[in-house]
């Protein structure tokens, strides 16, 4: 290869780069001018938008947005701002009305856009604005999905936010569907549908483990005490993971009909069961288990020792117990743990 070859190669690359640089700089200028215009219009419309959201009879905003050259982007930003600032804004009928009136036709087109990110954003916004009219289009799109990729997962979440219970049966078609996704669905469904679906999930007629785990976990996280007897039944389950989920839910629900049902878990060979049993005993202040907790302070697993000490702290005489155990427990690690929690108790009093 000769010098002239490299000259030509370098000069052509430099020339091509300069052309690209000019094109990109021009694009950047245009984009920044457009962004500036959008920001200006957003700011100009903020007041009339706020007035409209407070009093819908003041329809100056509707007139202004109708003729706005950047109608979609400006309205999207205003609605997004409103939804994120106002608690419960997701269900605002005015947000739904504005988005249905001005954005639904655009969103139907966007849902089949070739750009993945645009399709994803559209799904997020439909969920945020609670656009019920798009439910059939989304259901049709979900029917065509063949894999549980990021887009299908968001599609399921968005549909669940529109109270579509079929999302659970669609999810069940995917054996690898994660527990977290089922929980996301439960979280979004309307209360009536949610309770029905939780009931079905606990019956577990289709033997869907992930669904049942999600139901137990959701019940615990959201404190649905009405399901307590069903959760307590799961303590008898033969499946270890279900028992752990049930213990975790009971810890969150902070109630246990028969405290004695905790005894086998305090002596369980499984350390997560011992750990949750300790935490429940502490949270529910089950003083009859103080002795078990003192013993578990010397458990071989750090997390069990930690939870036992944490549980002891919660009793009214926790400080006395821990002081005694930090000096007299036969296990060195138990003494250390008791000393740590005793100090934290002192710290919290300051």
């Amino acid at each position: 290869m000769s010098l002239s070859f490299f000259w030509i190669l370098s000069l052509s690359l430099l020339f091509a780069q300069l052309v690209l640089l000019l094109a990109l700089a021009r694009r950047k200028q245009k984009m920044s001018a457009k962004e500036q215009a959008i920001t200006q219009q957003y700011e100009a419309l903020s007041d009339t938008f706020s007035s409209y959201m407070v009093d819908p009879s003041d329809d100056r905003f509707i007139e202004e947005i109708r003729t706005n050259p950047h109608q979609t982007v400006v309205l999207e930003r205003l609605l997004n701002g409103y939804v994120s600032v106002t608690k419960g804004g997701v269900k605002s009928p005015l947000v739904a009305k504005l988005s249905e009136d001005f954005l639904s036709a655009h969103y139907v087109r966007q849902l089949s856009h070739k750009n993945w990110a645009i399709r994803m954003n559209t799904l997020y916004y439909i969920e945020d604005f609670h656009m019920q009219s798009l439910q059939p289009v989304l259901k049709e799109k979900l029917g065509k999905s063949t894999q549980l990729d990021q887009e299908t997962q968001q599609l399921i979440r968005t549909l669940a936010s529109l109270d579509e219970p079929a999302t659970i049966s669609v999810l069940a078609k995917y054996p690898d569907a994660p527990v977290r996704l089922y929980t996301d669905v439960f979280k979004r469904l309307e209360e009536k549908t949610r309770l029905e679906e939780l009931d079905t999930a606990l019956r577990n007629e289709n033997n869907n483990k992930a669904l049942k785990h999600a139901a137990i976990s959701y019940i615990g996280m959201s404190g649905l005490i009405a399901f307590l007897p069903r959760i307590e039944d799961e303590l008898e389950s033969e499946e270890g993971e279900l028992r752990i989920q049930a213990l975790k839910a009971i810890l969150h629900l902070q109630y246990l009909t028969d405290p004695d049902s905790l005894v086998p878990f305090l002596q369980s060979p499984s350390w997560p069961e011992r750990m949750y049993a300790c935490r429940i005993a502490g949270k529910l202040q089950l003083s009859r288990f103080k002795e078990n907790l003192s013993t578990l302070l010397g458990d071989p697993v750090w997390w069990v020792r930690y939870s036992a000490a944490e549980a002891l702290v919660q009793f009214s005489d926790g400080d006395i117990l821990l002081t005694h155990l930090s000096a007299h427990h036969p296990d060195r690690y138990a003494r250390d743990m008791a000393a740590q929690w005793k100090s934290s108790l002192l710290g919290s009093e300051i």
Binding site: M1, F6, W116, Y306, S343
Partner: protein, 465 residues
């Protein structure tokens, strides 16, 4: 002898052309992913995690050595992080200044005898403290043992299943931890490490963990580091991460699965490149176990760091990086070209050896031959001229291309003038910045033989107001 130099010149020309082509190949591989997520509304994609109880709690480790000036502001910025459950552990690695005292005073810390689990051996722990106002802020005061030792002490105290290590001089964006944890949460733990993209903060305005205005610094040395970052990031890390063979997660910011790190033995105290060494060891562990778990890198900028402005500090940083790279490749030489380690052994390790480590040596010889050819007839001037052209191609033109590619994909700098300035500075790279880097990287290789690990020196101006 002349024919030897002549041969060497051709070998270096071939090497530079091959490396340039591999850079372009890497970029094409990463382009699809970056472009795909370009228009994604990041806020929307992470807001669901904020109230999600499935988000794993995270321990944030801040190793500090003589950081009395910045440590409390770093911790304050971490308090503002949006994340459902977190704890902050500052590890004072035997500072000679008032690092611990500042922490104790600012956050009203009380000494607490924590029952620390000794997963990893560390230098002696002098005391542990807990804040009375924010109980999830803790401080470990320990004997000096180096950054790796400090991080290991933090891992021992950490209560949560994931930890992130952040440098005392870096600022994490409010939603940075959420963005970084997202792949871990969504993969249900299949991803064990996520590296966040680190950006240079000099010139930009950062206030309360939020980037208020992105701008370019005035100093050419820092501008060139930005260009260098584009080159390394777009033409390298993304593609390697895509192939699950990425060997570097920046020391400035990364989230790790604690159990896996403990299994791997924690951070290595005997290298200055503890961040890269840990990643290689984790890869090694995964391959030996035939695990399907992954290490990932996200393109979104989540962490802002202060780049050195003085040549002296930049030199010591580069010497340290190169030394760390050498030590890592040497200590894991068993993996090199070993089919047992799959693409890591067969591709990634040789790539890091030939391009990242020895690249500096080849370039150094290249500059030597150009100089020798033009002034001392070491090689004929015609070959020297070709070598010179290829050096410009490999240095300036590829870096200038990286600037344009950044604009094409991520376009994080807002003004057209930023783009033009970065591009023009990139074109100057071969003539001043690159020779300096090459020289310091070669010095870094030699420095490996003078074993003495120490914390990097940096004169902090502070990046957040």
């Amino acid at each position: 002898m002349e024919s030897f130099f002549q041969f060497l010149a051709y070998a270096i020309i071939a090497y530079m052309l091959f490396s340039s082509l591999s850079y372009l190949g890497f970029f094409l591989l990463a382009f699809g992913k970056v472009k795909r997520e370009d228009k994604l509304d990041r806020r929307e994609s992470t807001e669901d995690l904020l109230g999600n109880q499935n988000a794993f709690p995270v321990s944030i480790l801040v190793p500090a050595y003589n950081e009395e000036v910045g440590v409390t502001s770093t911790v304050r910025s971490l308090l503002a992080l949006e994340y459902p459950e977190k704890e902050i552990i500052v590890i004072d690695d035997g500072s000679k200044d008032g690092t611990s005292e500042r922490m104790i005073k600012e956050f009203q810390m009380k000494q607490v005898p924590f029952a620390v689990r000794l997963h990893i051996e560390t230098a002696e722990i002098v005391a542990t403290y807990q804040s009375s106002i924010f109980p999830y802020i803790r401080l470990i005061k320990k004997a000096n043992g180096g950054k790796a030792d400090a991080l290991n002490a933090g891992i021992n105290l950490a209560a949560y299943p994931y930890f992130c290590a952040i440098d005392g001089d870096s600022i994490l964006e409010n939603d940075g931890l959420l963005k970084t944890m997202k792949p871990i949460i969504e993969s249900d733990g299949q991803i064990i490490v996520v590296g966040g993209s680190v950006r240079i903060a000099n010139g930009s305005t950062i206030s309360r963990s939020k980037v208020e205005a992105i701008d370019l610094p005035k100093s050419p040395v820092v501008l060139m580091q930005i260009v260098e970052y584009f080159r390394a990031f777009l033409i390298g890390r993304l593609a390697l991460s895509h192939l699950n063979i990425l060997l570097i997660i920046s020391g400035a910011f990364g989230v790790f699965n604690k159990e896996r790190v403990i299994q791997a033995g924690g951070y290595n105290k005997n290298t200055v490149g503890e961040d890269m060494e840990l990643i290689v060891r984790l890869h090694r562990l995964l391959r030996e176990e035939k695990s399907r778990q992954r290490i990932e890198y996200i393109p979104d900028p989540v962490c802002w760091t202060e780049a050195p402005e003085s040549l002296g500090v930049l030199r010591s940083q580069r010497v340290r990086w190169q030394r760390g790279l050498f030590e890592t490749l040497w200590s894991h030489r068993k993996m090199m070209m070993n089919p047992k380690y799959g693409s890591i052994g067969l591709f990634s390790m040789p790539y890091f050896l030939l391009v990242e480590l020895l690249g500096a040596v080849f370039e150094f010889v290249g500059y030597f031959l150009i100089f020798g050819g033009f002034f001392f007839s070491l090689i004929d001037t015609y070959t020297a001229a070709i070598l010179f052209m290829v050096t410009i191609f490999y240095g300036s033109l590829i870096s200038a291309l990286a600037v344009l590619l950044e604009e094409l994909t991520l376009h994080k700098y807002p003004k057209a003038s930023h783009l033009v300035r970065l591009y023009l500075w990139a074109l100057t790279e071969t003539f001043w910045y690159r020779p300096l880097m090459v020289l310091w990287r070669v010095q870094g290789i030699f420095a490996t033989f003078r074993k003495k690990a120490h914390w990097g020196d940096m004169k902090r101006k502070g990046i957040s107001t």
